[in-house]
Symmetry: C2
Subunit: 100 residues, 2 copies
């Protein structure tokens, strides 16, 4: 298995409606990108003030499956509409997961 994890900090001025629309758009990704095996995302529970605001954990069979997602037109459009220009911080990790 190959996992992609990404966190965001929303920029100042990003409101709840934007976050809800971003979340709804993210939820459509598994139906649009057939290399996605698992896709879990959510808004920080605010237990810690140092936390980022949002996280996505996406699993694929392999790094090629991740690349299909990363470059998929629907994903690129989502990033352009909801993420790029709306976040003050983005941090990601991809890694291989043993046993799958």
């Amino acid at each position: 298995m190959f996992r992609h994890v990404v966190m965001f900090q929303w920029a100042d001025g990003v409101d709840d409606a934007h976050i809800a629309a971003a979340s709804a758009a993210l939820s459509t990704m598994p139906d649009k990108v057939d290399t996605i095996r698992s896709y879990v995302h959510g808004r920080d529970a605010e237990l810690s003030p140092a936390n980022a605001d949002y996280v996505v954990v996406a699993d694929f069979d392999d790094a090629d499956g991740f690349a299909v997602y990363r470059d998929h037109p629907d994903h690129v459009a989502l990033v352009q509409q909801f993420i790029a220009g709306h976040t003050s911080l983005r941090l990601a990790v991809q890694h291989h997961v043993d046993g799958g």
Copy 2:
């Protein structure tokens, strides 16, 4: 379900032996903290130079289960030995996951 995700950037001078020891110590957490339901961690695959270096995704039944982990003496000791003072960046998100 309640998910905790944390990313690190290792500080300058942290070597492969330290990262391997940190990874081995992380792998012992599920045997030590009985509220952990799933625990997946790994080193960045270096597909993107902007990425962080390491990520941990830990799942619990609820936020209380996460708090048990966060405050568990064996977890606190691991953080002291391998993370605190060895990282230039730490970023986390906790969130509720629908359907579990």
